[in-house]
Symmetry: C2
Subunit: 152 residues, 2 copies
């Protein structure tokens, strides 16, 4: 089980965007966090496709959050970057091989698939209980905003 590395970058960017009033371009977000601009751009595109951020083109353009920070959960960001599909995909092994179960017993989901799905649900519930606003609240916002206004 593994989570895409871009998730961490994207979450940090969302926190920064929640404190910025003006659009923030990709290059600026990259130097703020000390990461590759080219690669960060790819993840920001994922956020844009998911409708979490809105791009502004041209001079003085950049990204802005589309919703209030309290209305964007960590799960929203994770799914936008890492995909929303289930981590475990049941291939219906119980219907294959010598001990294939008869189809009439396969109306209910496989017991193994059910356990994995329940676990993923718990995982998602935990992530959706925290918002970008909650994450921002744990930081020194005064210092952050001051750095944001530092000359380019």
């Amino acid at each position: 089980m593994k989570i895409s590395g871009g998730v961490e970058w994207s979450l940090h960017c969302c926190v920064v965007l929640s404190q910025a009033e003006d659009p923030v371009p990709t290059a600026r977000l990259a130097e703020l966090h000390g990461v590759s601009k080219s690669y960060l751009a790819k993840h920001l595109q994922s956020l844009a496709r998911a409708g979490l951020v809105r791009p502004t083109e041209g001079r003085d353009g950049g990204y802005v959050l589309t919703r209030a920070p309290a209305d964007i959960t960590v799960l929203d960001v994770v799914q936008a970057v890492d995909g929303a599909g289930p981590a475990f995909r049941c291939t219906e092994i119980r219907q294959q091989g010598l001990l294939a179960a008869p189809p009439e017993q396969c109306t209910a989901p496989c017991g193994i698939a059910k356990v994995m799905a329940d676990a993923e649900r718990s995982w998602r519930d935990s992530l959706s209980a925290v918002t970008i606003a909650d994450l921002a609240a744990t930081l020194d916002l005064a210092a952050l905003k001051q750095t944001l206004q530092t000359s380019y």
Copy 2:
């Protein structure tokens, strides 16, 4: 987020082993489930390395569970096959770039890392609440044992 495909095979195998009294070889487990023998062997090795199953070599050899089915959780199997490391790895972005936080504020874990770790904990708790015995209880054990005794 994605889970190795071998996890499904391994869980089904553990359920079968919980109902078998004699060692079951890899080739037999493969034909019972209709999957590749060569590839299944690799995952069974992972289970053996984790100490969940014990191999018996030579003629009439095979694999046997090392513990009672009620003492082996789904989490044990998942971690044996897919690795036990955390899915999210914090790279301490907060200490890099223009808005690097001073080290004295970084004694506690990053807020983002904490959220992700909590979610993974929920996931693991769900998986560790179910055992191989629980999974077996949802099946038609009489039919399964009969198939197990079918001639090779």
